[in-house]
């Protein structure tokens, strides 16, 4: 399973912290700091996998990360996940963000930190992959976005079913 999803920038400023296990807030920050220290010094030619220290889970965890411009996307997973699968999942997550924000950049993530959570919850839930199809993900996010608009509360009943009609 995926234990946590972290996004931080090169300086280690957190942009998203999501844990799928019960871990105290301070421990979460410690883990983020530790992973940042590990990841930030690695040049891009090295592999995208790292082994976690004891506090993260030791040799039974894989830190799978990708580096995009100023940001690091890190998924910490246990041994039951395919490393390459997670690599691709990060790509899917980033592309989904890209669709939702239209050319996503770090500022989007800062000012819309809540939406990152919503997008992520369409990709990963309970530490497992929910969906990998980009159009499906962005449709779900956009639908929720539409619902959140102040004047839309009455149209909601049909919303997803109409949305899905052409698809199933």
């Amino acid at each position: 399973m995926i234990r946590s999803v972290l996004i931080f920038n090169q300086l280690g400023k957190p942009r998203l912290i999501k844990f799928y296990e019960q871990i105290s807030a301070s421990a979460q920050q410690d883990i983020l700091r530790e992973i940042h220290a590990l990841v930030a010094k690695r040049p891009d030619t090295l592999c995208n996998f790292l082994e976690g220290s004891r506090s993260i889970g030791g040799s039974d965890t894989r830190i799978v990360y990708r580096h995009y411009a100023t940001l690091y996307f890190v998924f910490v997973a246990d041994m039951s996940e395919s490393e390459l699968g997670i690599m691709d999942l990060i790509q899917v997550f980033v592309e989904a963000l890209d669709r939702v924000f239209e050319n996503v950049c770090e500022l989007d993530l800062i000012f819309h930190f809540d939406e990152i959570h919503y997008v992520l919850s369409e990709v990963v839930s309970a530490g497992m992959v929910v969906e990998t199809n980009l159009s499906e993900i962005s449709r779900a996010v956009n639908e929720a976005k539409r619902q959140a608009k102040p004047d839309s509360s009455d149209h909601t009943r049909l919303a997803i079913s109409t949305l899905r009609r052409g698809f199933v």
């Binding site: 395919s82 390459l84 691709d88 000012f111 809540d114 929910v130 929720a144 959140a148 919303a159 199933v168």
Partner: protein, 935 residues
């Protein structure tokens, strides 16, 4: 989210902060502001949402936020979607699980799960997944199952529901009653929507690990789906990923199948695997496609190893992997090495792997530490008798240049491999001495302890070891650990080489002495012991040794000083037999699992999903696979085990099988086999007495109509003194009294005899009179059964024999020790992985006036049993974490760790004991369950 100006400004402000202090100030100001706003009654939904958003942002940056809980719940209750969304987000990020407000959130969840709007249902499912408290597991599982199984539900909801169940199942397996619905979710693995299939497969994978064979049907679905994806070219238009159909689903299915035995599907599976492997023969051009394709391939190889490791298919895979480990892509090298290590741990003939030994050794020099690590794991896994020398030599060569992070693990692995595959003694000693010299700084004491153990245990090794030890001491540089080993070895066996040129006692002493000035305190302490042993070993240099010891009598360090003083005193006592006895050669250590192994295995931690293999040789993986199906955490299993334990622990519970010797209850000789109610009551009472004495040092052991037996115990592990008091309750005198204690077997593990200097028992005992007798008890080794006490007397001409079990168990020889919290958990984990001495029981918590009383009682029991309680170790304050150490005369000391986890809501208590000795763990567990039972 519609933009909220206040929030945007706040975030922008924080971004402008130059220093951490600035940021801190800004956050505190805002917190103060929010606090006052929250107190106002006129707070509207928009503002509430805005402030809660600010709080979430602060907590993201790592600031402590403990307000806004009530507001989060208010938002959850809101009719507006956007407010509800933020509310649930805040509930999962800010609200502590233990909060009273959680109940209100659960109420909302229940309502929202039945909302007509699917978006809200999904929101609720997501929130339930994130929060996943016990209450949700207990009260909402059925609703979530409904949402998953409802025929009309949309894939959107089904996916979320499946994963919500997964999360609840993992956190509270005992609350979700998986048996009731597990079989019904399997067919959804055939759902036409790939997302649903994927989510359900994840759920089924977790169920398969918990329920085992009941989920077998899932493998049929998995194979069918794989066949359609791989062989039949199923059209999954929306889920093609760079030309690979639904790679995530394929990976998941391939992984799921590794939890089942292949059975009759073997040949079909092999066909599918062959196709996957064949298709990967040509390297894909595009990087993204390669990722997806190889993700499937690596999992296919893993499954292939599980299904049929010694087939031709795996030889082909080995070839493919051989190509991968030289790939230009670092990721592929990494995964190639990792998968090859898996192959090496399972395959019968290592030849296909050994062919790449050179390349793998090269990978130890890879520029990426992650790859280097995998190469080390692989070398460790592929090592056997024939390749051991070459591999160990390579590892030693790399040790000098390896990064510090890797060195410790490398040292550990070299030590294990050398011991495991040594065919010549000289090789073992050479390698180990080089190892401690090279990597001494990077390894724990386990390594040098183990070397000494091995040398002591193998006579053939000792002569050579002495020679090398002396050489090591004389070398220009001698590492601290090498010094310790050398000193120890010479102290024990120095006489073996004393006649060789240059190795005379004086030379040995000089070599040792020359090392002392620069050595650390612990090393000097070991050296002092060696010198003390020399006084016995070599009378010719006794005076020199004494002079050396004398110098240290004034050492500043207390330990050194004490050792020197004691050794000096011992050596100068006028007694012919004292020295040879005290400084006798150490006996070989009893065979036990190498501490190195447990150290290495302790690196493995509990994951939510079980590993299908571990790094290491084949033997270790085979022994794993035998215990894999048993899920240690499954409550059903634990409960069953507890039942079993209770049965064995209380033979008296079933009167028919009661035999005099093993009964805790007294039985008179002429007693009819069936027990009258009165006697039954006495049996119960007697068990109570017995149980009480398991954690209290004195009290009543037996209280009958005629006599009463009291007991007083004083423990100085490994010895003890037990005083027994026989009181006459009858109206007449009793005579012919005899009180005897005997052990349950003749193993000599426990010695119990009447104390030497005491008054003989009186010939007769008047009414209300009391006779007493003392027993000396010595615990030689850990013993399994308590001794029996036989009391016979004649009252009014009728002879009576009482047989009582004496509450003296291995667990009694325990002293409390205090260790740090981190140490405790390190050892706890280490012992847990080794699984040599774990006992667990789920017991009914005794009914006391309040939960707090019950907890206090638990603490008293643990303390009374000789455990030291470690305060504040467990996140749950009521849990008890305790450590004791049992001392035996011959077998040494055994650590015993205990965790007691009371669950007041179920009035159950789980007790887990891990000890370095299985019998001890069992004894403690048995005692505890008796104590519980009697309460």
């Amino acid at each position: 989210m519609a933009p909220m100006k206040g929030l945007t400004v706040f975030i922008a402000d924080l971004r402008k902060c130059r220093s951490q202090e600035d940021e801190e100030r800004r956050v505190n100001k805002e917190l103060a502001n929010i606090r006052t706003k929250f107190k106002e009654s006129s707070l509207n939904g928009y503002n509430r949402k805005k402030y809660v958003c600010k709080l979430i942002y602060m907590s993201l940056l790592g600031h402590e936020v403990n307000i806004g809980h009530k507001e989060a719940v208010d938002l959850v209750n809101s009719a507006r979607f956007s407010e509800k969304q933020i509310g649930y987000l805040a509930a999962s990020l800010l609200l502590p699980e233990s909060s009273e407000l959680m109940r209100a959130v659960v109420g909302c969840l229940r309502r929202d799960m039945y909302d007509a709007n699917e978006c809200i249902v999904c929101l609720a499912l997501c929130a339930a997944t994130n929060v996943a408290t016990r209450e949700i597991a207990e009260s909402l599982t059925e609703d979530v199952v409904m949402l998953l199984l409802a025929p009309s539900g949309s894939p959107f909801v089904k996916k979320k529901a499946a994963l919500c169940l997964l999360r609840l199942l993992r956190r509270f397996p005992e609350s979700v009653k998986a048996r009731q619905w597990a079989a019904r979710v399997i067919p959804y693995m055939g759902h036409r929507d790939i997302g649903v299939t994927l989510a359900v497969t994840s759920l089924v994978t977790a169920l398969a690990q918990q329920q085992g064979d009941e989920m077998r049907k899932a493998s049929t679905f998995a194979v069918r789906r794989l066949r359609s994806l791989v062989l039949d070219g199923e059209r999954v238009a929306d889920h093609m990923y760079y030309g690979v159909p639904a790679p995530w689903l394929q990976v998941k299915l391939l992984r799921l199948l590794q939890y089942f035995e292949p059975g009759e599907q073997r040949s079909e599976l092999l066909g599918i695997l062959r196709r996957i492997i064949d298709e990967s023969q040509e390297a894909p051009r595009e990087l993204q496609q390669m990722n997806a394709q190889y993700a499937v391939l690596f999992e296919a190889i893993n499954l292939g190893i599980h299904v049929d490791v010694d087939q031709g298919l795996m030889h082909e895979s080995a070839l493919l992997l051989g190509r991968f480990i030289t790939s230009r892509e670092t990721n592929i090298r990494f995964l190639g090495l990792e998968t090859m290590a898996h192959l090496a741990t399972c395959i019968d003939s290592l030849d296909p792997v050994k062919r790449y030994q050179g390349v793998i050794v090269q990978s130890l020099r890879d520029r990426d530490v992650s790859v280097r690590r995998r190469a080390l794991d692989l070398l460790y896994s592929m090592c056997d008798v024939t390749s051991a020398k070459a591999i160990v030599a390579e590892l030693l060569r790399h040790m000098a240049i390896a990064d510090a992070a890797l060195r410790e693990e490398m040292a550990l692995k070299v030590a294990i491999l050398t011991e495991k595959f040594a065919t010549e003694y000289s090789w073992y000693v050479d390698v180990m001495m080089r190892l401690v010299s090279l990597a001494g700084d990077h390894m724990g004491d386990e390594v040098w302890h183990r070397i000494v153990q091995v040398i002591l245990g193998n006579e053939e090794l000792q002569l050579y070891a002495c020679r090398i030890a002396l050489q090591t001491l004389r070398a220009p540089v001698c590492h601290e650990s090498a010094l310790k080993v050398s000193a120890y070895v010479l102290g024990e066996f120095g006489h073996l080489i004393a006649n060789a040129p240059g190795c005379a006692p004086l030379d040995q002493l000089k070599a040792l002495q020359a090392r002392l000035p620069g050595a650390s305190l612990p090393a000097r302490a070991v050296a002092l012991t060696a010198v003390a042993k020399f006084t016995n070993l070599f009378p010719e240099i006794k005076n020199l040794c004494l002079r050396l010891l004398d110098r240290f009598r004034g050492a500043l360090d207390a330990e050194l000083q004490q050792r020197a003083c004691e050794y000096y005193a011992l050596a100068t006592v006028e007694s012919e037999s004292l020295l040879p006895t005290v400084f006798e050669e150490m006996p070989p250590y009893p065979e036990r699992q190498s501490a190195l192994m447990s150290r290495l295995l302790s690196r493995e931690t509990d994951t939510e999903d079980q590993r299908t293999w571990v790094v290491g040789g084949r033997d270790i993986n085979r022994s794993r696979s035998t215990r894999r199906p048993a899920d240690e955490d499954a409550p059903a299993a634990a409960a069953a085990a507890a039942e079993e334990k209770q049965e064995t622990a209380q033979p008296t519970a079933t009167p028919a099988t009661t035999t005099a010797a093993e009964a805790a209850a007294p039985t008179s000789l002429d007693e009819p086999p069936a027990l009258t109610p009165e006697e039954e009551e006495r049996v119960a009472k007697s068990r109570k007495h017995y149980a009480r004495l398991l954690w209290e040092s004195d009290g009543i052991l037996y209280d009958g109509a005629e006599v009463q037996v009291g007991m007083m115990a004083q423990y100085k592990p490994p010895a003890a003194r037990i005083g027994l008091f026989l009181g006459n309750k009858s109206a007449a005198a009793i005579c012919d009294i005899s009180i005897q204690a005997e052990t349950s077997d003749d193993s000599g593990d426990l010695v119990i005899q009447q104390a030497a200097d005491q008054d003989a028992l009186p010939e007769s005992l008047m009414p209300l009179g009391q006779a007493r007798v003392f027993f000396d008890v010595r615990c030689h080794r850990v013993f399994a059964a308590a001794p029996t006490l036989r009391i016979s007397y004649t009252l009014a001409g009728a002879p009576t024999v009482l047989e009582l079990q004496l509450p003296v168990t291995a667990a009694h020889f325990m002293d409390p020790v205090t260790i740090s919290v981190t140490d405790f958990f390190a050892r706890w984990k280490q012992l847990g992985e080794a699984t040599i001495g774990e006992s667990q029981a789920v017991l009914k918590t005794p009914f006391l006036a309040s939960d707090a009383d019950a907890i206090q009682w638990l603490r008293n029991v643990a303390g009374g049993m000789g455990f030291a309680l470690i305060q504040g170790a467990d996140v749950v304050p009521d849990n008890i974490v305790a450590v004791g150490i049992a001392t035996t005369e011959a077998a040494g000391r055994f650590g015993c760790l205990m965790r007691v986890e009371p669950k007041p809501s179920h009035s159950l208590t789980r007790v887990t004991i891990r000890a370095t000795n299985p019998t001890l763990a069992k004894a403690v567990a048995t005692n505890i369950s008796m104590i519980f039972d009697a309460r």
